[in-house]
Symmetry: C2
Amino acid sequence: MPVTLGPIEKPRKQPIQARSTATVEAILDATVQVLIAEGKDRLTTTRIAHRAGVSVGTLYQYFPNRRSLLQATLRRKLVTVTEAIEAACLEHRGERLSAIVEGVALAFFRAKMRDAASSLALYAVSSDVDGLRIAEELRLRSGAALAEALESAPERLSVPTKEAVFAIQAALSGMSRTLLETRMPVRDHATVQRNLVVMLCSYIQAVRAVDALQAVAVPRARQ
Amino acid sequence: MPVTLGPIEKPRKQPIQARSTATVEAILDATVQVLIAEGKDRLTTTRIAHRAGVSVGTLYQYFPNRRSLLQATLRRKLVTVTEAIEAACLEHRGERLSAIVEGVALAFFRAKMRDAASSLALYAVSSDVDGLRIAEELRLRSGAALAEALESAPERLSVPTKEAVFAIQAALSGMSRTLLETRMPVRDHATVQRNLVVMLCSYIQAVRAVDALQAVAVPRARQ
DNA sequence: TCCAAACCTGAAGCTTCCTTCATCTAAACA
DNA sequence: TGTTTAGATGAAGGAAGCTTCAGGTTTGGA
């Protein structure tokens, strides 16, 4: 996969007056709305602008191209989730490992499922827009917060913190993504969430330093 | 997101002679190759045909449109992984829960990581092509196999099999996707894989019928 | 009140790519 | 060897959407 670095993007006008700040927000909102209502195939700049109540020209005054608009939209959503995780990490600092993990998992889920439709819709554009870079950046950010939180716990881990953080993040994002993508009815979300918490908590117990081998027989990976 | 059902697709020529069967395979292979080498933005029908050593016209004799070609390519990959899971489920029938889970997890990983580049590349086109439908279909298929395997174990679960299956599938796909997307060096794969197996095995222990509460204090999900 | 800066407009140019189809070649078969 | 059917070709039609830019409107301050 080629790294579409994109040349240094032409700088665009920064919103100065209140009017234009509102315009930019309206454009970002409209992007999500069109995406949800019409799907990525009909997510054209003209349609977005129209929905935002402005003309295409205006759109191009704040975003150098379609791509950067979608990136900004995606980033806005991911930042929200990241901040929710960071807040949970702070809130549970110093607590027991499983309390931290549970707190973070629940916070993550809440943030991701608030406005589930937009979370789902944005998955679809991510690959058009190098969403992986953005996701990676934010994964590192929330990963740092989680690592810090885990190390503030009274217990030790028997595996490197990095490994545990990766495993937890992967399970979290995988579970929420699968949940959204299968369009599971909302009333079942609580059940899935409970299973996820069980999974993460029993994992973190299993990799606690002292009694890891006692709590669960850790299987060696073959091969 | 609108359901792009696509009208009933015009039936195309079925390969009859050996020559044309080879052509179809070459086109599918070329699709993956172009995708990996040039990225989804340059994945044009002309380029695919050229890489396959045929002309565009030939391509359109076997696929009614670009979309169906990409779907076929995606499906071919996912079917491989699904079959690996099914095989593992059969192989471990009747064993202990954690043995089944471990066996399936390892089989899944092996299948997914064999030719990791194509797995990663195909994620990118999935959303252009209603890949969710295909993924969902195959998720159900491998889910059925896994459910059957879990119920063949000597132990019982304290949660509905469906729930456990969903949780395991979600964690598996999430972990492998995250692994691929972060482009983690291959030498670290084993470590991640080991953590995943620990996570899944300790989960399945936690939701065993008898001593679920003893092995791990199952936290109640708040809210 | 008037000017300059900020902001907005939208028709049309431009590029890109999918898809078709009239025509040609190769294979099977009598 | 002649005929029929399968398979292959690729130039060109057509549709679609991104982006620009020349010119209009609004705002804030002098």
